[in-house]
C-alpha cells in the first residue's frame, strides 16, 4: 500500500475539520452588521494611521541568516543518515567520514561569527533621544 495515500487522507481530514466547523458556525452565529464594531482594534482608542507600519530591519536580517542555515541542515541530513553505516564498513576511516562534515560546519560557523561581529543577530534599537532626565547632573556624593 502506498503510504502517501494515508498522508493525503490525513491532509484531507485536516482540511475538512476546519471547513465543517466553519459551516456549523455559519449556521449558528448571528449577524448584526454595524460599522463601528468592525473598526481596527487599538485598545479602545480611535485607530490612527495605516497598519502597514515600518518595522525593525532585524526581522529581515534573521530571515536571511535562516536561509543559509536551513539549506545547511538539508545538506547535513543525508550525511547524518549514512554516517554510522559508513563507520561500520572497513574501507572508510573515521577521518574521511567525519572530516568533510566538520569542515562544512566550520565554514558555516565562521559565517555565523562574521554575522555576529557585524551585529546581524544583535537587535538594533532606535537611538535613544536624550532627555532632560539623562542630562541631569550626576551626584557623585
Amino acid at each position: 500500500m502506498n503510504e502517501w495515500i494515508a498522508i493525503g487522507a490525513l491532509a484531507l481530514v485536516g482540511l475538512l475539520i476546519p471547513l465543517s466547523m466553519m459551516a456549523v458556525s455559519y449556521l449558528l452565529r448571528p449577524s448584526v452588521p454595524e460599522t463601528s464594531k468592525r473598526a481596527t482594534y487599538e485598545s479602545g482608542e480611535v485607530p490612527t494611521g495605516g497598519t502597514r507600519i515600518r518595522f525593525n530591519i532585524q526581522y529581515y536580517m534573521v530571515a536571511l541568516l535562516f536561509l543559509v542555515f536551513d539549506i545547511e541542515t538539508v545538506l547535513l541530513f543525508p550525511w547524518a543518515v549514512v554516517y554510522r553505516a559508513a563507520l561500520d564498513s572497513p574501507d572508510i576511516s573515521l577521518v574521511s567520514a567525519l572530516g568533510p562534515m566538520l569542515l562544512f560546519v566550520a565554514i558555516l560557523l565562521v559565517g555565523l561569527a562574521w554575522a555576529w561581529r557585524n551585529g546581524a543577530v544583535e537587535w538594533t534599537r532606535a537611538a535613544r533621544r536624550r532627555t532632560d532626565y539623562d542630562r541631569r547632573p550626576i551626584d557623585h556624593e
Binding site: I5, G14, M21, R38, F77, D88
Partner: protein, 362 residues
C-alpha cells in the same frame, strides 16, 4: 520492557490503513479500497488528536493553571467541570464573526484553516503504539520537521491580513522566533538520526527499545533522552519556542501586543487558531516522545502502547503549562539573541560531539 510496538508482519511495519483494509475486506477493491481504508484511519487519528485538544483547551489548561495559582476553576458543569468542553465549543462557535474593516479577505479567512489544518499533518507518521500509525515513509523525520513549519505561514497570513498593528507585530515576531529556533530543533533532531542511522520513525522507535544498562535487574531502555540528555534538554527548549509557549510566548505576549496575530480573530476563526496551537503543542510532544522517549514504549504488553503515547504527550503538555505558570517571558531582542547566539551554537556543538562520540565508539 516491550519491544518495538508497531506490529510486524513479514518484516514490514503493519500500518493502520492496511489493518483496516484487512479487517473490512476493503483491500480487494484496489486503489479505491485503499483510499477508503486510509481515510478511515485518518479519521480515527484525527478524532483522537481532536479529542485530546478539546480536553486540553477549555478544561485541562484552566484546571492546571488554577492548581498552580491555588485557585478553583471550571467546577460547575458536569463531573469535575468536564462538560465545560461542550459548553465552550457551542458558545465560541455560535459567536458573531466580526471581520475588521480593512482585512485582506481571502488571506484573513484562509489563515485559520492553514494553522489548524497543517498541525494535523504531522500526526500521519507518528507511531502511536498499539499498531496505530498511518504511514511510515523512509523520510519520516524530515517530513515531520517540514510539515510542522507550515503553521508559521498561517501565522504570518493572520498577522498581515488582519490589518491591525498588533497583529502585524505578532506575525513578524512569530516568524522571527520560528526561524530562529527551527535550526537548533532540526540540528538537535539530526543528532538522534546519527545514533539511529535512519529517518524512518518506526526504526528510530525500534532502536530505542534495546537495553542501555542493567540497574538492579531492571533494564533501562536506550531512549535517546537517557543516551544524550543534553540533546533532550536542547530539543525541549527549542520546541517550546517553536510552539510559542512560555518563556517564549513573545508572538502573543498579552501584556505587550494584546494577542499578537490573533487579536482580530473572533468566533470560529479564533477557535481554529486556538485549536491549531494546541494541536501544535501535542505534535511537539509527539515528536519529543518519538525521538527521545522511545515512542509508545513502556512497561506492560505492547497493546498498551497507545496509553504510553498519550501519557508521554500529556507529560510534555503539562510541562508547557508548568512553564506558563512559572517562567517570565523573554523580550523579543533577548529571544533572538538566545536563539542565534546560544541555542544555535549549542546545537552544533551537540551535533559535532555526537558525531565524534559515535565515531570513537565505532
Amino acid at each position: 520492557m516491550t519491544g518495538p510496538v508497531p506490529l510486524q508482519s513479514d518484516g514490514e511495519t503493519y500500518l493502520l490503513p492496511e489493518r483496516i483494509a484487512d479487517l473490512t475486506g476493503l483491500g480487494e477493491f484496489g486503489i479505491a479500497g485503499e483510499s477508503i481504508a486510509a481515510l478511515l484511519g485518518a479519521a480515527l487519528v484525527g478524532t483522537l488528536m481532536l479529542t485530546m485538544t478539546a480536553v486540553a483547551g477549555p478544561w485541562a489548561k484552566r484546571k492546571i493553571t488554577a492548581a498552580f495559582t491555588d485557585r478553583i476553576a471550571v467546577n460547575r458543569i458536569g463531573p469535575f467541570g468536564l462538560f465545560i468542553i461542550v459548553a465552550d465549543a457551542v458558545r465560541l462557535i455560535s459567536k458573531e464573526l466580526i471581520v475588521p474593516e480593512n482585512a485582506d479577505r481571502p488571506a484573513y479567512d484562509l489563515a485559520p484553516i492553514v494553522v489548524a489544518g497543517s498541525a494535523m499533518l504531522g500526526f500521519a507518521v507518528i507511531p502511536m503504539g498499539s499498531g496505530i500509525q498511518l504511514a511510515d515513509p523512509e523520510v519520516g523525520v524530515v517530513y515531520l520537521f517540514a510539515v510542522s513549519g507550515i503553521a508559521s505561514i498561517g501565522l504570518v497570513m493572520a498577522g498581515y491580513a488582519s490589518a491591525n498593528k498588533y497583529s502585524l507585530m505578532g506575525g513578524l515576531r512569530a516568524v522571527a522566533q520560528n526561524v530562529a529556533y527551527e535550526i537548533p530543533l532540526v540540528v538537535t533532531g539530526m543528532s538522534v538520526v546519527i545514533f539511529a542511522g535512519t529517518l524512518q520513525l518506526s526504526e528510530i522507535v525500534a532502536v530505542q527499545a534495546e537495553p542501555l544498562i542493567e540497574l538492579g535487574g531492571v533494564a533501562l531502555p536506550s531512549w535517546y533522552a537517557f543516551v544524550n540528555p543534553f540533546a533532550f534538554g536542547l530539543f525541549i527548549a527549542a520546541n517550546l519556542a517553536e510552539v510559542g509557549r512560555n518563556p517564549f510566548d513573545t508572538p502573543e505576549a498579552p501584556t505587550e501586543i494584546v494577542a499578537g496575530y490573533q487579536t482580530e480573530y473572533s468566533s470560529v476563526y479564533f477557535v481554529l487558531i486556538y485549536l491549531g496551537e494546541f494541536l501544535h503543542i501535542f505534535l511537539g510532544g509527539a515528536i519529543i516522545a518519538t525521538l527521545f522517549l522511545g515512542g509508545p514504549a513502556g512497561p506492560g504488553p505492547a497493546a498498551l502502547g497507545i496509553v504510553w503515547y498519550i501519557v508521554k504527550i500529556w507529560a510534555v503538555f503539562l510541562l508547557t503549562q508548568w512553564f506558563r505558570s512559572a517562567l517570565p517571558r523573554v523580550r523579543i531582542d533577548q529571544l533572538i539573541e538566545i536563539g542565534w547566539k546560544g541555542m544555535l551554537v549549542l546545537s552544533f556543538a551537540n551535533l559535532v560531539l555526537t558525531a565524534i562520540l559515535v565515531g570513537a565508539i565505532a
